[in-house]
Symmetry: C2
């Protein structure tokens, strides 16, 4: 591979390809911007220039809709007692958005249909959206809280878009948020002691 | 197609093939034992002899583990206030069972990876296990209760077995049931009025 070189029209695509190769080989946690830059033969600053952070680079490599990493602002800003409802509302509004919907469904179907891509998407969501929400609202939440939030996201995504489970599939965003918000809120309030020793 | 004939060593397999063709063409609701028998060129009584009821015939046609249709007895017998916990415990114990685990994972992966098989499996679960539980414990539950129970099942199945989300993936059955039971119990208690008009 050539030495470090400045950006060319193809550089962005080469960085994405390098990220995909790193992710395939080392998984989400093992992939660094530095290693992706080395593999692509560019300066790490150039990767930062194109993608800003690892989340956005991984989103591009996994062909996840860019918005996925950026939609959580209302959840971060919500009052604590409203985080559950806002979490469901924000995700659902983003998934329903015609600009994202098809990409979200495709990512879900391929992530659940094949093992490797599913595990990458899982870590992307756990280390991105879910980590940000917990860090802001309940930094001492036990690990099971992250797992339960991911479970609710995957359950809702598959039921509403892949399995068309009515009336959940055609229900307005507000109504789904009202139904599922309390579930998420309860998981946010779990304390470390509520996680069983065997876990 | 030949006229009605008695069972031969291949008859069971021919009935399963006929059921698969009917399901592919007409979906779960449109498939009847009578039509499957007609397509297979056998008497409906022979279909009943091999499969007892439509649920079991569909399970065989979809290659779902037989146990899936038969495991719900503890849930039907549970006291109302314990249905949520028992529901999660019973499903999870059945999925974890080495006799079922691989088939459950394969069914989930292919059902979520491809649209047609997913919709058949959805109707199988909605019309089978979930309908039985609701009929026994809350016959007046609104349609959204079925949808939410299915959502929890799919979320748990994918998180624990397809996406290996820790600590949910390796947590003892009792602990998962304690965490998720209250969620299911809340959905069982929803009343028709709590289902939004827009649904």
């Amino acid at each position: 591979m050539a030495g470090r070189r400045p950006g060319t029209p193809d550089t962005r695509g080469e960085i994405v390809a390098a990220a995909r190769a790193e992710l395939a080989q080392r998984g989400y946690d093992g992939t660094s911007i530095r290693a992706v830059a080395r593999r692509a033969g560019v300066d790490p600053a150039l990767v930062h220039h194109y993608f800003k952070d690892k989340q956005r680079l991984v989103a591009a490599a996994l062909q996840l809709p860019n918005a996925v990493g950026e939609v959580m602002a209302p959840v971060l800003d919500a009052a604590y007692e409203d985080v559950g409802r806002t979490f469901v509302h924000t995700l659902l509004a983003s998934w329903d958005d015609p600009a994202n919907r098809e990409a979200v469904i495709a990512a879900a179907r391929s992530g659940l249909g094949s093992s490797e891509q599913g595990l990458l998407a899982r870590d992307f969501v756990l280390n991105g959206q879910i980590a940000a929400v917990l860090e802001r609202h309940c930094p001492d939440a036990p690990p099971v809280t992250s797992a339960l939030l991911l479970m609710e996201m995957v359950g809702l995504l598959t039921s509403r878009y892949l399995l068309d489970v009515e009336p959940l599939a055609s229900m307005p965003v507000d109504s789904v948020a009202a139904l599922l918000g309390p579930t998420v809120q309860r998981y946010l309030a779990l304390e470390a002691s509520s996680e069983p020793a065997g876990a």
